[in-house]
Symmetry: C2
């Protein structure tokens, strides 16, 4: 059973239980197409059984290297863009109190000043580099890697290569060749797993392990999710339930989904989700536009719009029920009027803020569902990652698109290469 | 003349020059209503001449206190939610290399674990508190203030009050009374300036000054913008031009605006903008939904959706043309194929990425306009703040809403108070 539960009461007046049940055949047939690799983009569905097929050997190898890096370095610079960084960033942000090295992410933009500052910061730090790219020629990470590799050479002399780990294709591509020539250690990105589905491969796992986070338990959660995500009982298969609800809401005119957490630690999980869903679904002039919020902060920002703006939104909340025992204290004077809360935990108050919000937005015409998470453990985080991956795959099949390609990402690159007069463009 | 320029070539095939010119009468009449305080919500239009009416005396007083804080503390904890933090955060993030104290923002959510971590972090730091609230009873900042004030009492004994600065109402409210009773120094939030328009009052300016940023030049930029934002020549009044274009795009079915910068330093300017625009326009089941991106990162995340998803988007780009002289180096082997870029600055390449992107998205059916910013100075940042404020005010009048209220923000609070059994609710 899932370590979190879905509450979708506030969806039912918009899309009723019968309509949801009516989608079952379509859902289960999408699920079978996926499992049997008969659907669109099936060559990139290796993520489906990735948790269960990843052996302890692989995880131990990653943990071993991470232990070495934690001993020899203060900083790991992880170089990658899109799916090559968002997954690791999501996990590390959620568990940033762990005792690992500082993990910095580079190669995700072309900002001159950001590179300049990063190089200055690294100047007097001991660092390792984890460069993540299937090809090794994507402009943003390739530029960052050149610049940071040069600094590593300057600092560490001819042994600089010991400090570089390449996560790349098993056989081909510039980064694979470079690794062989320069003697970098390597990890493999499986051929059948696309960037945005790669968090549970070495792409995500190595930076996460370096940050001191328990990747074994992250994988254990994902493995469990892989099991229950095969169920043909909708109530026991949250990924299918979520896919069904959002599909039906979209068909009823709700074109923007807000994934809103009540915990700032989930900020980058939302960013990861935005790529996963936006890039998988945004095709053929259709798809739900993914946007994110952190509450209650953003109730004082986007809150007004959600409550009273265009009625094209629906919301998915994430609430972590237990985070800390910290409570409101009592004050003699009570000038701020908070004594009625004295002794109550912030968790309890945050939970009431969530309840107040879901009701307010529902009353304002915004259907919403909730992922209720008892506590934020690495295990449940692994479940959530798999849950979202499975949901978007089924969702893409419902929308009749290929959820595993991203042809539109090439458009800006082609123009850029032409403008930069790249040879052969 | 503005220190940045608007390029709107990629809007014209969607909304032509004639249509834009045809809106002039409406624009200028909205502008006059604003200036003459005859329009909706005119009691909250004090921000209009705030830059020009703010005397040097006020700025010197803020700078003086900031200098004291920088001498006596390592950290300023700024406590506030929504408009009481986003403006300062936007400015500080843009200029974070400045030699001031570390400014932390608290009181913007009810996360137990975030408060616990913040208190632990402050335990062995010397800090000042700047609590920002018109009333002093807003739940989120009030809770944080209680907890952090208690730590200050523990650390600094009965002189703790010297380390607390309250930015609040001139006469009424709990925080004003508390300041009098406890002896906090205070700054005033003008009655006629709402939260999301308050960045150029002490609400924003004190934290910004503490961070070591030149508030005099920020205000000088805003003062200049105040002047040219009065022009009735559309080409010399970027705020009106921007308001006109986005209004016309909205009327043509473009319901989501993406404010996309090519510089990560502008991330929180976009967050500030989301509140400013979403809260001002999202009323009567209408208004443009504000979303944000940082490129090129998000080209590998939302890029696919922008290129090929629902055609309900338009984009506003922000490009900073000069940021650093750092350039791509040459490598002997050229395995990554980057030597064609050797010697060219990242700024130049980033600019080509921008050009490639605007063309790609335009070709994909997403109209876009651009704010071209030669260099990110505090002066031009002040201009941008005023530019967006003026634009959203005119925009609200075009949409026939009151751009200065936020009735919908109360809904979740009312529910929450009832659930928490707050006396009198």
């Amino acid at each position: 059973m899932a370590g979190f539960r879905i509450d979708y009461q506030n969806v039912l007046p918009f899309v009723n239980q019968e309509v949801i049940s009516g989608l079952k055949d379509k859902l289960f047939s999408a699920q079978r197409e996926l499992e049997e690799k008969r659907g669109r983009g099936s060559e990139f569905t290796g993520w489906i059984n990735l948790p269960s097929r990843t052996g302890n050997e692989e995880l131990d190898k990653i943990d071993g290297l991470a232990a070495e890096i934690r001993t020899e370095a203060e900083v790991l610079v992880s170089i990658g863009i899109g799916g090559s960084y968002l997954g690791a960033k999501a996990v590390i942000s959620a568990f940033e109190d762990k005792p690992g090295v500082e993990v910095l992410f580079a190669g995700k933009n072309i900002s001159g000043i950001e590179h300049e500052r990063l190089l200055a910061y690294l100047e007097d730090k001991d660092f390792f580099i984890n460069v993540i790219s299937k090809s090794g020629t994507t402009t943003e990470p390739a530029i960052a890697f050149r610049l940071i590799k040069e600094l590593a050479k300057k600092k560490y002399g001819k042994n600089f290569n010991r400090r570089i780990i390449a996560t790349t294709d098993s056989a081909k591509g510039a980064l694979r060749r470079m690794s062989e020539e320069e003697g970098f250690r390597t990890f493999v990105i499986p051929d059948d797993v696309g960037g945005r589905f790669s968090v549970l491969t070495p792409v995500g796992l190595l930076p996460v392990a370096c940050a001191g986070i328990d990747i074994q338990s992250l994988m254990a959660g994902a493995t469990e999710a892989e099991q229950y995500a095969r169920s043909e009982n909708l109530e026991q298969n949250p990924a299918l339930l979520y896919a069904a609800i959002r599909y039906l809401l979209y068909r009823s005119g709700k074109k923007v989904e807000l994934l809103s957490s009540f915990d700032p630690r989930l900020f980058y999980l939302v960013e990861w989700w935005k790529q996963l869903f936006g890039e998988s679904e945004g095709k053929n002039s259709s798809g739900i536009f993914p946007a994110g919020c952190v509450f209650s902060t953003d109730l004082h920002s986007l809150g007004q719009y959600i409550q009273e703006g265009e009625r094209m939104l629906f919301e998915t909340f994430m609430l972590i029920e237990k985070t800390s025992s910290i409570a409101v204290t009592r004050e003699k004077s009570d000038l701020d009027g908070l004594n009625y809360l004295a002794g109550r935990t912030l968790d309890e108050i945050n939970c009431k803020a969530y309840e107040g919000t879901r009701k307010a937005h529902f009353d304002g015409g915004v259907p919403n569902l909730s992922l209720m998470i008892p506590e934020l453990t690495t295990k449940v985080f692994g479940e959530l990652l798999y849950f979202f991956e499975k949901a978007v795959a089924v969702s893409g099949y419902l929308l009749e698109v290929n959820p595993f390609d991203q042809p539109g990402v090439e458009a800006y690159k082609k123009n850029m290469f032409r403008l930069l007069e790249k040879p052969g463009n």
